[in-house]
């Protein structure tokens, strides 16, 4: 396609705009971010290399540890719930019941609304309900946790449902017929035909819910903003419903002296996300069958 003499010219036209923006928007910030995590700095120009100090401080930061456990628990609960709900709703909607298309459209709708706005909508609703019991979302970390879970289910279940529906529709009908002739009952059909054939969709959906929940920021910020905050024994403020992304953001911008620590936390966060994503892919991939 690209003949020799003009090859350079065309590579410039086709690749350079994206590549230049990619360097500005990703490659340079990423590598300088990794470098800065080993430095003490307030701005990028006065960075001083200090080795692993930031990482040690990050692991001593109570807020960060708390946000890690909060995030881990939230991810487990929401990934399981969202996928179960989405899977069974998708199953029901592919049975051919009346109004399937309308339901599909309605369940997908919350995905188009941004995280910040969703957070405030649900804050209004939860506080409206909790008011009757003389309390509100900012007073108890449990309310914040389950509020966030409900919000995420409401938002993400529709998206995953759409993917599962496509998966169900791609299972060849003759597989079911063959299994029925062999005398399989409904339960066996689901376990031995549907679920193995659905593994690719399950891989995609768990991957998406896992990474989305882990990186959650907007909804967390708008719904509770981390409240309630409790002053720990060490004298630092520890937010009870703060997820990792929000914690890192706060370490960065609420105290200019802890920026190095914030950057180190970001690197740790990045490594956790990558490891979990890869492990999950490897785990569900193994269970996929060739069509």
């Amino acid at each position: 396609m690209f003949r020799k003499p003009k090859r350079k010219l065309y590579s410039l036209i086709f690749v350079l705009p994206t590549f230049a923006a990619f360097v500005i928007g990703f490659i340079y910030p990423f590598f300088s971010g990794v470098y800065l995590s080993f430095c003490k700095f307030r701005t990028t120009s006065n960075a001083k290399f200090i080795g692993f100090d930031n990482y040690i401080k990050a692991f001593q930061n109570e807020g960060f540890i708390r946000s890690f456990w909060f995030t881990a628990l939230f991810v487990i609960v929401s990934v399981v719930l969202i996928n179960l709900i989405a899977f069974f709703v998708a199953y029901a909607l592919t049975l051919g019941i009346r109004g399937s298309n309308v339901f599909r459209t309605v369940f997908f709708m919350p995905n188009l609304i941004g995280g910040i706005i969703l957070g405030y909508i649900w804050q209004l609703i939860f506080n409206g309900i909790l008011k009757n019991y003389g309390t509100n979302l900012a007073l108890n970390a449990n309310y914040g946790f389950w509020g966030l879970v409900i919000l995420m289910c409401w938002q993400q279940a529709g998206y995953m449902m759409i993917i599962y529906i496509a998966g169900f529709q791609s299972v060849p009908g003759d597989l079911y017929e063959a299994a029925k002739i062999d005398g399989a009952n409904k339960h066996q059909l689901l376990r031995n035909v549907t679920i193995p054939m659905m593994m690719p969709s399950i891989t995609i959906c768990t991957f998406l819910t896992l990474t989305n929940s882990f990186k959650l920021f907007d909804q967390n910020l708008a719904l509770t903003g981390g409240a309630p905050g409790v002053v720990s024994e060490g004298g630092t403020m520890v937010y009870q419903t703060q997820m990792m992304a929000l914690n890192i953001y706060r370490t960065f911008y609420e105290n200019a002296n802890s920026r190095g620590v914030g950057q180190a936390e970001a690197v740790i966060f990045f490594i956790i996300v990558v490891v979990i994503a890869l492990a999950q892919l490897a785990f569900t991939r193994k269970r996929e069958v060739q069509q």
């Binding site: 396609m1 340079y28 941004g114 706005i117």
Partner: protein
């Protein structure tokens, strides 16, 4: 990523509705009502006074709490940064960003997958890599870079979006280009079309379905994005919708809840109308995106 084939839906003959199916229909109808209820509650509250919202958030506005369209008017022209400017700003960034991403990354992806050089391979793997990296990892250095390069305007942020959104787009486009038989392009070449003409006349039209799905995914992302524009834009001069709403809620002394409700309505009604008018493309685009991603 994984192999699922999205089979185009055929018109099935209407199935006989058994009792169980009827019950499911009723059940899902009830759930659907609960699904749209939050949006409806916000709509209802946008016509109430602040006191009305905090005392009875779930009831219809009555004579005492009815506020009419006043909250819309205060919300629209509130403070030194009126909301209509915000809407225009959001619209510009989303349309501009998506257009730029579609144009540049589709060209880039085509070149990358038709050229075998090692540099192209490296760029491609970096694109995939960038998809899993959380934004917090680059937020500080990215905002500093944008500051240095003077990219803090709605024009400048388009370049950041192109860079940060390139990963997903390049990945999806390359996946599709690989499925296009190279003979088509060779035929165009023999007929004397240069690479430019081959791309815009032959390849791009074939890529249309992927263009739609990338376009939809990127639109949903950019329109709703909060942290990136918050850190990069010069907030005294420009705001996007999520920034504006967060600003009104957070740092302001007394929050005008009814004005916020009105603004939330103003910012989600256009999306919902847009969604219901072309939901078929949106849902198919999302499926195609997920299946390839």
């Amino acid at each position: 990523m994984a192999k699922v084939q999205a089979i185009p839906k055929e018109k099935k003959p209407k199935k006989r509705q058994t009792l169980g199916m009827r019950i499911l229909t009723i059940l899902f109808s009830i759930i659907s009502v609960f699904y749209v209820l939050p949006v409806f509650i916000v709509l209802m509250n946008s016509f109430k006074t602040n006191a009305g919202i905090s005392s009875e958030p779930f009831s219809f506005p009555n004579a005492e709490t009815f506020y009419g369209f006043k909250s819309y008017i205060t919300g629209m022209f509130f403070g030194n940064f009126p909301f209509y400017k915000t809407i225009l700003c959001s619209l510009f960034i989303t349309v501009g960003g998506v257009f730029l991403i579609l144009l540049c990354t589709s060209m880039c992806a085509w070149y990358l997958s038709r050229s075998n050089s090692i540099i192209c391979k490296i760029i491609y793997y970096f694109c995939i890599f960038s998809m899993v990296v959380p934004f917090q990892m680059v937020m500080f250095t990215l905002s500093k870079t944008a500051d240095t390069l003077n990219l803090t305007t709605p024009w400048g942020i388009l370049i950041i979006y192109l860079g940060f959104g390139a990963g997903l787009a390049v990945f999806m486009f390359t996946g599709f280009v690989k499925s296009i038989p190279i003979e088509i392009e060779e035929a165009a070449d023999v007929d004397g079309a240069g690479p430019m003409r081959t791309f815009f006349g032959v390849v791009l039209p074939i890529m249309k379905p992927t263009v739609i799905s990338v376009g939809i995914l990127e639109t949903m992302w950019i329109w709703n994005d909060y942290l990136l524009p918050y850190l990069i834009l010069d907030k005294g001069k420009y705001k996007t919708i999520p920034i504006h709403i967060q600003y009104l809620n957070g740092s302001y002394g007394h929050t005008d809840t009814s004005a916020i409700m009105a603004l939330i309505v103003l910012s989600i009604v256009p999306i919902i109308i847009f969604y219901f008018s072309c939901q078929k493309y949106i849902i198919e685009g999302v499926v195609a995106g997920a299946v390839k991603g």
